[in-house]
Subunit: 454 residues, 4 copies
C-alpha cells in the first residue's frame, strides 16, 4: 500500500516532575515516526512562556545539533507530520504555538476536521488571519474567540463548533491537555512515566519511553495534567465510538494496542480470516513488507501454506534523495523492494497486502514477482476495497482504483492470477470489536461525520 495517500500524524506530550519533558518527547516522537516523516516539532514550557522548535524531515533531521540543555522543561508536546504533496511547507509544521486572550498555548493535532474550510471562511469574514493551511489553526482561532474566560470553557466552545477527527495535545505554562473527539476516530493514550505523565498517539510510544499504559483518553474526554496531578473532564457527552479501522489495518505500529487489542494480532486475525474466505491453491504465502507481514503470516497459518519471505525491503531508503528516473525504472532500477528469486521461482505465490488504494504499487510488485520466476501470483487483500474518500484521514485527491473497478477488474489491471478482498464482516470480526464502534467509511461510506469535503 502506498503511503502517499494518507494524511497521518503522531502526537506526544509529557508533564514531568523533572526537567526532562523535551528528551522524553523526542523519544516518543521517534517511536511515532511511522505516523509522519515529513516534519517534526516540539514545544515546551519555559517559565511563563512556551518555546518551540520545528524542522523538516525525521525527528533526527529536524533536531540535529539541538542543544537539549537549552530546552530543560517540565512540560512539552510534540508532533510528527505526514502530508500530501503540495502542503509540504514549513509554515505547516506543528505544534502550532500562539498567544491570545488565554495566554500562550501550543497545540498538536492528529486528525481532520470536515468543516474546517467553512469555519475558516467564517473566521476570515470576521477578521481572522491564517498563517498556515492546517485545520489546527481553525481550532486555535475558535479558542481565542470564545467568550468564556478559561481554557476549559473555551475548549468546549471551540470544539463544539468543529466536526471531524481530532486527537489533540495542548500545552500551557500550567498544564498539559489531551483531548479526543466524541467519536474517538484517532487514538490517544495516557501513560504513567517514572516521575510524570505522558500522552501519545500509540502505546508503542509509551513503551519506548518506559511509561506504563494507564488507559485511553475516552472519546469526548479531556485529560488535564498539571503539577496537581491528572484530572478527567468530559467535554462532550459520549457518542457512539467510531475508531478508524485503518489504524488496525495500516496506520499503527504492530506493537501498539487499541481497546486492548494488539495491532499485530488483529492483522494476523485478518490474514487468517482472509485465508478462510479466499483460499488459494498455491505453494507459498508472502507479504508486502512491512505493513502486511502480520496479515500474511495469519494467512499462511490458516491456509496451511508455508509462509515465506518473498520480498525484501531496503531498510535505509527513508529519505534517499537519489531516486531512479522513469527511464531507469524501465531498466529495472528498483530501490525499495526486491523479490527473493530463490523463494518465489517456479512457485504459485499468494501475495498478501493490507489494502489497495491506487493499484500502482501492487501492479509493480506482481510484475516484479513474475520477473523473479513466480508461476502464479494471487493477490489477497486483508481489508475490503477502499471505495470512499474520507475527510478524516484518507486523501481523496488521488483516484481510488476501487471506485471505478470491480475486484475482478482490479485483479486484471494489476495482472494478478486471482484477487480477493477480505469482507467487511471479517475485517470487523478480526478486531474483536463491535462493528458499530468503528468507522469504516472508506469501505462503505458510512462516516460518522459528513462534511462538505466528501
Amino acid at each position: 500500500m502506498n503511503r502517499l495517500i494518507y494524511e497521518e500524524c503522531g502526537v506526544f506530550g509529557a508533564w514531568m516532575e523533572t526537567p526532562t519533558a523535551v528528551p522524553l518527547t523526542l523519544f516518543g516522537l521517534i517511536a511515532l515516526q511511522h505516523r509522519g516523516q515529513e516534519s517534526a516539532g516540539f514545544a515546551c514550557v519555559q517559565v511563563d512562556s512556551i518555546s518551540h522548535k520545528r524542522g523538516m524531515g525525521l525527528v533526527d533531521d529536524a533536531f540535529r545539533g539541538l542543544d537539549l540543555d537549552a530546552y530543560a522543561s517540565h512540560g512539552a508536546i510534540g508532533h510528527v507530520r505526514y502530508s500530501t504533496s503540495g502542503g509540504s511547507i514549513n509554515a505547516n509544521i506543528q505544534p502550532l504555538v500562539f498567544s491570545g486572550r488565554l495566554g500562550p498555548i501550543a497545540l498538536a493535532h492528529n486528525g481532520n476536521l470536515v468543516n474546517a474550510a467553512v469555519i475558516r471562511n467564517q473566521l476570515e469574514q470576521q477578521g481572522s488571519i491564517f498563517q498556515t493551511t492546517t485545520d489546527s489553526e481553525v481550532i486555535a482561532h475558535l479558542l481565542a474567540r470564545s467568550t468564556t474566560s478559561d481554557l476549559d470553557g473555551a475548549l468546549v466552545s471551540a470544539l463544539g463548533q468543529v466536526r471531524g477527527a481530532y486527537a489533540l495535545v495542548m500545552l500551557t505554562p500550567e498544564r498539559l491537555l489531551a483531548v479526543r473527539d466524541p467519536y474517538g476516530v484517532r487514538p490517544l493514550v495516557l501513560g504513567k512515566a517514572d516521575r510524570g505523565w505522558v500522552v501519545a498517539s500509540e502505546t508503542c510510544a509509551l513503551d519506548t519511553v518506559g511509561a506504563v499504559f494507564e488507559r485511553e483518553v475516552e472519546p469526548g474526554e479531556m485529560i488535564s495534567i498539571s503539577d496537581q496531578g491528572v484530572e478527567s473532564m468530559p467535554l462532550f457527552p459520549a457518542r457512539q465510538s467510531a475508531f478508524c479501522i485503518f489504524e488496525y489495518i495500516y496506520f499503527a505500529r504492530p506493537d501498539s494496542e487499541f481497546a486492548g487489542r494488539n495491532v499485530h494480532r488483529v492483522r494476523r486475525a485478518m490474514g487468517r480470516k482472509l485465508a478462510e474466505e479466499a483460499p488459494c491453491d498455491a505453494d507459498i504465502v508472502t507479504g508486502v513488507p512491512d505493513s502486511s507481514l502480520s496479515a500474511a503470516a495469519g494467512y499462511a497459518e490458516a491456509s496451511g501454506l508455508p509462509y515465506e519471505t518473498g520480498l525484501i525491503r531496503n531498510r535505509y531508503l527513508g529519505r534517499t534523495f537519489i531516486r531512479p528516473n522513469p527511464e531507469q525504472r524501465d531498466q529495472g532500477v528498483a530501490l525499495k523492494l526486491n523479490p527473493i528469486r530463490g523463494v518465489v521461482e517456479n512457485k504459485r505465490v499468494v501475495l498478501v497486502d493490507d489494502s489497495i488504494v491506487r493499484g500502482t504499487t501492487s501492479k509493480r510488485i506482481v510484475k516484479m514477482l513474475r520477473n523473479a520466476g513466480a508461476k502464479e501470483v494471487h493477490v489477497r487483500i486483508a481489508s475490503p476495497p477502499v471505495r470512499h474518500g474520507c475527510g478524516l484521514g484518507i486523501d481523496t485527491r488521488d483516484e481510488l482504483i476501487a471506485q471505478r473497478m470491480s475486484p475482478e477488474e482490479i485483479g486484471k489491471h494489476i495482472a494478478a492470477d486471482s484477487i480477493a478482498f477480505l469482507s467487511s464482516k471479517s475485517t470487523v470480526a478480526a478486531t474483536g470489536l463491535p462493528r458499530k464502534s468503528m468507522c469504516m467509511g472508506c469501505f462503505d461510506g458510512s462516516h460518522p461525520v459528513k462534511g462538505e469535503e466528501f
Copy 2:
C-alpha cells in the same frame, strides 16, 4: 547480534555505454547500505582523470545535494564503509584515489589483510607515506612500487605480497577491474546491465539496478571490463575456497545469493536444523529483527511451534542522534526494540538470534521479554559460539563472551531459561556447501590465512 563488532564494507562498480555510471553506482551502494553506514564514496572517470566524492553517513547523507550532471561518466566505483570506533575519520573514506607510475587509479576494498601492518612498516622504512589507516593504502603502494610496466602485472606483484581477504573494485580511465582474493573470503559478483556491466558485493545490488547476475568473480580471478568488453584473468592459482560463512549467517541481505544459495533460505535451514538439534517445550517462536527473522521462521517451521512477531524494531532509528542516557535506559527508555506484550505475555518464548558476540544485547532482550510478561525465554542461536577473533572481518577488540564462558554460563549470564547454539556441522549443512569451501575460523580458529594480528 550487535553490529558494532564487525568491520563490513560494500563495493560496487559500473562500466556503461551511456554516461550513467555514477547514478547506477549510487543505487548500488544504497542496496549495499546494510554493509556499511558510516561513510560512502564514489570515484568516476572524467576524460583522462578520476574524480571522486566522499562523505560521512549514509549514501543519502554523503551525497545530498550532489550535482549528478557534474558527474556524467561511463565508469564509476563506489564504497560503503562500516568501521569500529576510533577509525571513524574522514581520511579513511573510500574509494582511495591515487596517482603514480601507472596513472590515476581508484580503489575500493572490502576485506582485511592480515599482514598489512608488517608491509606498511616495511613500506614506511622504504620511504612511503600513509595518509589513511586503511589496508587499502598498502595495496596502492605495492601497486605503485611494482616494477612491472602495466597494471595487470603490478596487481599480480602487489597482491602476491598481501595475505588476507579482499574483494577489490578498481577504476582507471580505461578499465573497471574486479579482483577477489584466492580464498574468496568476501563476495564479489558480476552482472550484466542494460547497456554495460556492473560488479557488486552482493546480488541484491544487481537486482536493484536492474542488472542480471552473470557469475561470481572467482577466487584469485581478476575481471577486467573496458569498452572492448569483459575479460577474465586468473591472477592466482585456484586455492581452496574459504568463503566467510558469516556472510550467510549475518552480513548479507536475505535476498542475495552466493554460490547459488539464497541467503534467506540458508538462514531458514539453519533455523530448522536448530529446532532439530535443540528443541524446546515452549509456546511460541520469535526472532530478533531483522537479521534473525529467517532463522526464527525456520525454527518455527521445523518445531511445529507457531512463529510469532514478538519484537518490533523501530525502522527510523538508523542515525538518530538523540539517544537515551544510562539513567533514561534504567527508566525503561528503549528506542530500538519493543516487545509485543499481547504476543509474549504468559508465553514460553523461544527467542532465535543469529549469533552472540558480547552478550549485552541478548541480555537486554531477554529482560525486555520478561518485563512484557513472557513466562520463560529460551534462547536459540542459529550458529556456533564465536570463540575466535578474525583478521578477516570480525573485530576482536571487543571481548567475545564465548571466549570466557561456556554456553550454559552464557545462558545464565543473559538470564535465559535455556540456551543452545547450532552445531558447526549443521551450520555447514544448512548452506548445502562443502565444509572445506568455507571459512569458519571464528568458530574453530581454522582461518585460511593466519597473521600477526590474531
Copy 3:
C-alpha cells in the same frame, strides 16, 4: 558603535514584466544586508497564491541551495532582519504571509510601532491569536479586521490605528504596495528597473539591481504597483516629516541617498563640523571602521591633521561562531579590530566614532590603541550623546551610558584623554535639512510619536 542595540531591518520589493522578481529581490536584500544579518525571507506571487521562504542568517545562508526556478515570479518582496537577543526566533522572520478576508497578503516591515502592545492586547481580548512577537502581526490583524471591502480602505483603517514608524512593502497576487508612515521615520524609495519597478529601504539597493532612482515614497503615501503601472495614493495627510537622523549617522550605507543627500557626504560634513567644534592638538585622525570612516575623513580634512588608517577590521568576521571567551579576551585575543602599530605608535590620536551607546566598545578600542603605543587618545563622536530610548528604532533594553554620565564622565570611563560630541545643531546642519524635518528623539527626547514604551 555597537550594533547590538539597534533594531534595524531592510525591505525590498519588485514587480516585473519578466518572471525575475525573486532573484532581483535577493540581490536587493544582499545590498541591504547591513540593515539586518539575523534572518532573511522573501515572498512571491505564484498564480493566485503567495509562496515564501525564510531562514536564519545572511541572505546567502538563508537561501543556500535555493531552487530559483521554483520561484519564477513577477512579484516579490523581501526582508532582512536584525533583532536584539531574545527575540531571535524563527517565527519572527519576515515577510509575514497570511490569508484572510482580503485574500493572501505578504508583508515586510521596517520600523517600530509605539502602541503595538496596547493594540495587541485589545486584539487578543477580541479573540485574535498571535504567532509571532512582531509589530507587523498587529498590522496584519488590523487589516483583516477592517470592515472595508478592499485592501486600500483596510490599510487606511489599519494604519490609522497604529502610531510609530513603518516602512512597509506588501504583496498580493495583483499588486506590490509600498507605504510609509506619516512622519517618514524610516526610508523607502522607488526605482525604475529595466522592465519593472522596485522599492527598497535605500537607494544602494536600487543601484545594485541596476534600477534608477525615481523618488522617495512620501510620508503617508502608498504607492501601488501592478501590471497597470504605478499609482500614488495618499493614505494620510502630510504631517511634519520626522526622518530618523540615525539613518544618516549610522544605519544607512554610505552610498545611499536620502532627500538628495548622500550619506557619506553627510557623515563627512559631520566630521568637519566636529573638527570645528572640538579641535584637538594631535598628530593623526583615525576612525572606527567601517561606519565612522566618512566622519573621520571629514574631521581630518577640516582639522588639517593627517587622516590615517589606525584600525583594521577583519572582513570575514560576520558570522564567525568561534569566539574568544573572556579569558582569551584578557589574553589579548581580539578578532574584530586590530590597530596598526606603525601608524599609531607614539602618536597623539584623534579617534572618531559615529556614536556611543553603551561605551564598552569605545573603552576596548581606546585600550587597544594605547597598547599599540598611542601616546594620547582623543575621542570625538560625530553625533550628540544618545540620552533617550526610542520606540522607533533604538532599543532601550541596554543601558545608555549617556543617560547616567556626562560627556566628561564618559571620557573618563573609557579612559580617553579627551572627549567631545558633535552638537545637535551641527549634526542637523551637516544634513543640510531643516531641524524640524528630522526625528532626533534619541538626543533630546523629542520623538514625533510617544508611546507607552518610552
Copy 4:
C-alpha cells in the same frame, strides 16, 4: 585587482603550555582569512598521534559545529587556502597529515615549488603515489624517502631538492616547526603568546591572538618549538633574500608588518610616489576598496587633491551563491561595488588601484564611474605592469593584459582618460628596502628561481 589569479595561502601554528592550541589556531586562521577563503584545515597533537579536521569555505564554515573539547591540544597548525578554479577539491585541503618512517607529521605550506612536477614525476617512477595535486605532497614524500634517521636531517635533504617558495609549518607529536625557503619569498613570523609560542604568515595573526611579535623566521632557517623551548636551526646558508613584493602591494593585511615595514604605510608611500610620478589634473582621488585604499590615500596626500570615497564595497559578499547572470549584469546588476554618485558626479576622478592583471575589473569600474556621472576617469596603478608569470605565486593560466598591451593600450582598453603605473624604482623605494632583497619577477622577469613552469 581581481583575486582570482593568485594562489595564496595562510599558515599558522601554536605550541602552548595549556591545551588551547586549537582555538588559538582557529583565531589565527580567521586573522589570515584574506590569504585564502576556499578551504581551511587544522591538525593537532593528540597523545602520540595527530588528528585533523578540514573543510571547504571560510574557517567559520569549515568548522561550524566543531566540538572544541574534542580537540584539546598543546600543539596545532592550520592552513587557509585559496586556489584557482580546477584545483578546488577536497583532497587538496591542507594541512597534509601523513605517517611514515619519521612518524606522524602534519604539514601546512604557503608557496609554490617550481620543480614540483619534475620531482613528482621522478617519485612516481620510483613507486610513490600521490593523493593530492599539491606541491606539499612532494615535500612529504621527499621527507619520507630521505635516508637520514631524524626529521631535521630529512628536512635538509628534502628541502635541498626543491626549488621555489615555501613557508612551512609542521607538527609532530613532539614539536612545532617553522621553515622558510632560502629566499624568504613568503613571509613567516614568530610570536610569543601568553603561555606558549605561535608562528604565522603575518603579524596581524599574532596581534589577533594576543601574541607579541618576536622576529621573522629567517630565510633558510628552521625554528623548532617544543616543551623545551624555541631553537633556531639554519637549514640552508643565507642567500640573497627575495621577498615577494606583492605581499606589500596586495596580499597582506594592511596592519601586518614585514621587515619592520607596516604594509599600510608602504602602500601609502606607493600612492605618494605615484602622485609624484604621475600627477593628474583632477578633482578627487578615490581607491578601489579594500586593497587600494591605502595607496589612494597616499596619492591624495601627495597630490593635494581631496581623497574621497567614491566606491562602496558590499561587506557581506564573500560567499554569496546568488550571483547575477550575464544578462542581469548587462541590466546593471552589480553586487560587489557601487559608486557614490554624489561624490563622483561631474568630477574628474583619479582612480587608484593596486595593480592590473587581466583588466576586466578595471574596465568595469571605469564604466561604473562614468555611469555615475564622472566627467573623467584617470587610472593610476600603484605598482608596475605585471608582465611575467610566476611559479611562486601568480598564476599565469590567466592572460596578463600587460603582456600584450602597452600601458597606453591598456588605458584605452579599459576606457580610461589616462593611465599610469608606478615605476619599479619608486615601488622599491616605497618599501624602504634594498631592491635586491625583494622578488619583483612579475614585473621584470627576474625571479630568484626559475623552473620548467615559467
